[in-house]
């Protein structure tokens, strides 16, 4: 089981660790980039590298790497769009603003597989996917996706521009990569980015006009996660509800969590594809915890039923919302951690049955990531 995770926040990156004894409390043991907006963090199990994406409001998006566990950091080259052709015209469909060929935010960052040494993927606002084949020494825009005519139809959800927030690299075949787009559905490549297919059949957007509600290309998955031992199983927290696929995103089925189906974060057990966790909010219209109670909703039967978990979480006048990357499960499937917009941070060592408060006054939490070790076999069952 993993005993360390990283927390990316609006104003810094924090390391949380448990003391040496099993019952030792969890505490913040290191901090970095204090005052800076850390939009994403990655722990690469292949070489132990830690990556932090910074979103300097004035100075742009940057990437830093640490190769000593977070003690020191070095700035690396950040993904960058190629020169925009002079005659190129494109506007974001919902707001009509020109799409900038510039990284506005690094929103997702993932390591390639064991069979893809040096491979890294990076999703950005305004919708470009980037790939590095040399361990982050250089990046290239994935033109097959950027130039796809349907990519031009992507539109912003909560942000002004569309963005790629989820990148799922199939642990059994790193050429198969699934991405989630707000708003633009779920896209899959089987050939490491040479070609792409939109796979969002079954997803439903009730807020769209009737004739567009099942249109795969306009779906707004908030977060897409993949089961490591059964990669055909993916879960999506979607603007309109929660969806699950058992066939590699070829079709999605809606499930009905309690106490609500609206939320951003979802995590799936690495060894049990039917076990997943959500951090629900009340509704799209009212993005606060249901009845002011912070809860985690867990299913162990593929979404047939849900258990609402609250032991150790605030149950009165709590208005914490959990962003899409701010919930994570470790490689064993036993440890979970999640953070909130109001700077609270909780950890569980028993699949969510009970929670311990790690911090209550952090900056808004954007992303939580357990430090992953190199796979040593099947995840816990």
């Amino acid at each position: 089981m993993t005993d360390r995770f990283l927390v990316a926040t609006r104003k810094g990156l924090f390391t949380v660790q448990r003391g040496e004894r099993r019952m030792s409390p969890w505490s913040i043991t290191a901090k970095a980039f204090i005052g800076d907006n850390v939009s994403m963090v990655l722990t690469d199990p292949r070489d132990g590298a830690l990556w932090a994406a910074l979103d300097h409001g004035h100075f742009g998006a940057k990437l830093h790497v640490s190769r000593d566990g977070g003690t020191t950091w070095s700035e690396m080259v950040a993904p960058a769009y190629p020169p925009k052709p002079a005659d190129y015209k494109e506007v974001e469909p919902a707001g009509g603003r020109p799409i900038p060929w510039s990284v506005l935010r690094i929103w997702s960052l993932e390591a390639g597989g064991e069979d893809d040494p040096g491979g890294l993927w990076c999703g950005t606002l305004p919708g470009g996917l980037f790939r590095s084949t040399d361990g982050g020494g250089s990046w290239e825009l994935v033109r097959s996706l950027w130039d796809h005519p349907k990519r031009r139809e992507w539109f912003g959800g909560g942000a002004e521009y569309p963005g790629i927030h989820s990148i799922c690299v199939d642990p059994t075949n790193s050429s198969r990569v699934t991405i989630g787009v707000s708003c633009g559905g779920v896209w899959v490549t089987e050939d490491r980015g040479v070609s792409w297919t939109c796979r969002a059949e079954g997803m439903r957007a009730a807020y769209m006009p009737p004739e567009r509600q099942f249109d795969p290309f306009i779906q707004d998955p908030h977060r897409v996660v993949q089961c490591r031992s059964s990669p055909e199983y993916l879960w999506a927290a979607h603007h309109n509800g929660v969806f699950r696929t058992t066939n590699g995103a070829r079709s999605w089925v809606e499930v009905k969590p309690q106490p609500s189906s609206f939320g951003f974060a979802v995590a799936v057990h690495p060894g049990r594809p039917d076990t997943a966790w959500l951090v629900p909010a009340e509704s799209d219209e009212r993005r606060v915890p249901f009845e002011g109670r912070v809860v985690v909703s867990r299913t162990r039967d593929g979404g047939e039923s849900f258990t609402v978990l609250s032991r150790g979480l605030p149950q009165r006048h709590a208005y914490d919302i959990t962003y899409r990357h701010a919930l994570d499960v470790d490689a064993s499937g036993e440890h979970l951690a999640f953070g909130s917009t109001t700077g609270s941070l909780w950890v569980s060592v028993d699949q969510g049955d009970t929670w311990q408060t790690v911090a209550e006054h952090l900056p808004p939490v954007y992303a939580v990531r357990w430090v992953r070790q190199r796979d040593s076999g099947a995840a816990g069952q």
Binding site: H56, G57, H58, F59, E75, A80, P82, P83, S102, V103
Partner: protein, 89 residues
């Protein structure tokens, strides 16, 4: 030669000392700086070579007009100041 100086706020991320450089436009002067200090470029300009949305460049106290191609002329005595716009929280 025009003198280029930078907001103190940027120094925490990348060292940008003031420099007297050759150049007849804002773009030429900044390009001369970036030749010596390539990391500074991405902090001030975006990938398309335009001034970042929340950055601002002054020449002798006046904001430059051409933020996209940086064609505003500068004199040999010009003071070019690269600052951050007021935004964020």
């Amino acid at each position: 030669m025009p003198n280029v100086s930078f907001t103190p706020n940027i120094q925490r991320h990348v060292s940008c000392p003031s420099a007297a450089v050759a150049g007849a436009t804002v773009g030429e002067a900044l390009e001369a700086v970036f030749r010596e200090n390539p990391r500074a470029r991405t902090y001030i300009l975006d990938e398309q070579g335009a001034v970042r949305p929340h950055m601002v460049v002054f020449v002798d106290g006046r904001q430059v007009q051409d933020r996209r191609t940086l064609s505003d002329p500068v004199t040999d005595q010009a003071e070019i100041y690269v600052a951050q716009a007021l935004s964020g929280g």
